[in-house]
């Protein structure tokens, strides 16, 4: 039986390829039916598909060694001698080209190719975006994909898109989604401009939940986190830079709330920057933020009657959830056009 197995793995190429072809096809179908049609969890289906493939493979090899037709090995071996055996002509060429192409796909930055396609596609869509819902949906998809895949769309195209989607006085309802997708993507680019914490900065790790609604230090979060799914998510809060008097120091407090560090033993002072990194939701409604860098968060603005006040605020790789309204429109414009963001936008004299 072992000798027949050897024959299967090394000599009987035709039987091997037929067996492997069917095994791959069956394992693929198993994965596709369970993962896509039945929508079962990917990890579990993957394990099952691998086990399935192993079982079929073992079955096929054992079946071959027990019942398969023996090949006329001597005749076959002659083909393996220097004069004889040839792999089908096309295979080496195809394999060589494939190998080169695979290597090229590793080294050529395909993100730039996608970026070029996206630039072209966005430029084509822009004239119709304000009025055609389908164009706005496409634009939303493009910016969502660009953010997810970290594709570098050119700044000029982003500015053009911003001008176009914010220009129309009576835009289609879907345009709002496009605006949000645009500022989400824009916040990805802010990582290059945002300051970084200094080496001696101190970081506090809070978990989202009851503790955060009444934090022990300088941040007055109030109802900043009220998303149950966020419970337990970490908040990394870093205070960085020189200690400054309150007016210049960083703060994140409700508008009209207690000034930063007023009750702190250090007196009415604070650090230059506050860095907040989390994947939880944080609320902007009625908050006064100054010199704050928010990273990776879901930034929520719900009530247009309570706009935030932003001064020198960076949103890096954030995802925005904003209720449409006059204040939200203005805020979205500020988020798109400025880094850091200041809101309300100061009027030039």
């Amino acid at each position: 039986m072992i000798a027949r197995l050897y024959e299967f793995f090394y000599l009987d190429r035709k039987a091997r390829l037929v067996a492997y072809g069917w095994t791959v096809l069956l394992a693929f179908l198993y994965g596709a039916i369970n993962g896509v049609l039945l929508n079962r969890p990917e990890e579990r289906v993957s394990y099952e598909a691998v086990v399935f493939l192993l079982v079929v493979h073992l079955g096929v090899t054992i079946g071959y060694s027990l019942w398969g037709k023996p090949v006329r090995t001597k005749k076959l071996l002659k083909r393996y001698t220097a004069a004889g055996y040839r792999i089908p002509k096309l295979v080496p060429y195809l394999a060589g080209v494939s190998l080169l192409a695979l290597m090229a796909s590793v080294f050529i930055p395909s993100r730039n190719v996608y970026a070029a396609i996206m630039d072209y596609q966005i430029s084509k869509l822009l004239p119709t975006v304000p009025n055609q819902p389908s164009s706005a949906i496409k634009l939303t998809n493009i910016f969502d994909t660009a953010k997810r895949e970290n594709i570098p769309i050119s700044l000029q195209v982003i500015q053009n898109a911003g001008t176009k989607v914010f220009a129309s006085p009576k835009p289609a309802p879907q345009t709002w989604e496009a605006k949000i997708a645009l500022i989400n993507y824009r916040s990805l680019l802010n990582s290059q401009k945002a300051p970084s914490p200094s080496i001696d900065a101190s970081t506090i790790n809070w978990k989202a939940g009851p503790l955060l609604s009444n934090p022990p230090l300088v941040l007055a979060w109030g109802d900043a986190v009220d998303y149950p799914a966020d419970a337990g998510m970490p908040f990394f809060i870093t205070f960085s830079g020189p200690v400054l008097p309150v007016p210049e120091a960083a703060h994140y407090v409700p508008i009209g709330g207690m000034p930063i560090n007023a009750e702190n033993l250090m007196g009415p002072v604070g650090h230059q920057y506050i860095f907040i990194q989390t994947k939880a939701h944080i609320l902007m409604d009625n908050y006064d933020m100054q010199n704050v860098v928010i990273k990776d968060a879901f930034v929520v603005y719900r009530d247009n009657n309570f706009p935030p006040r932003l001064a020198n605020v960076y949103f890096v790789n954030c995802t925005f959830e904003m209720t449409q309204g006059p204040q939200a429109e203005e805020l979205a414009k500020a988020l798109l056009n400025q880094s850091p963001t200041n809101f309300p936008i100061p009027h030039e004299p």
């Binding site: 090394y10 000599l11 994965g31 289906v45 295979v91």
Partner: protein
């Protein structure tokens, strides 16, 4: 005088003569695996290009999942084959006679 003696095969030539069938089989199968991998990579690139063109992400996700299972099947098939080949090679070195019997059939 004896007929002109043929040059004795060198060390590497002996090894190549012994291993050639195995190496050829391995290269042949590997070439087919590479072609499949390349085709799957083409599909991957096509899916990304569709995304860049604004194709609905929900549909791309479905195609992406199908593509993932195809990758999975091809990779593991290649792995199983390689393990089988290595196992048979080791076995043939230990129990060479049985294998010789197959070859001489």
């Amino acid at each position: 005088m004896a007929a002109s003696a043929q040059p004795r095969p060198g060390f590497w030539s002996k090894i190549w003569h012994e291993k050639e069938p195995i190496v050829r089989t391995l290269i042949g199968d590997f070439a087919i695996f590479i072609i499949f991998l390349f085709l799957l990579t083409l599909v991957f690139l096509a899916l990304r290009a569709l995304g860049a063109l604004g194709y609905a992400p929900a549909r791309i996700t479905i195609l992406d999942r199908l593509h993932f299972y195809a990758y999975l099947a091809v990779y593991f098939m290649f792995l199983c084959d390689l393990i089988g080949k290595v196992a048979m090679y080791i076995y043939s070195n230990i129990f060479g006679k049985k294998i010789e019997a197959v070859r001489d059939r």
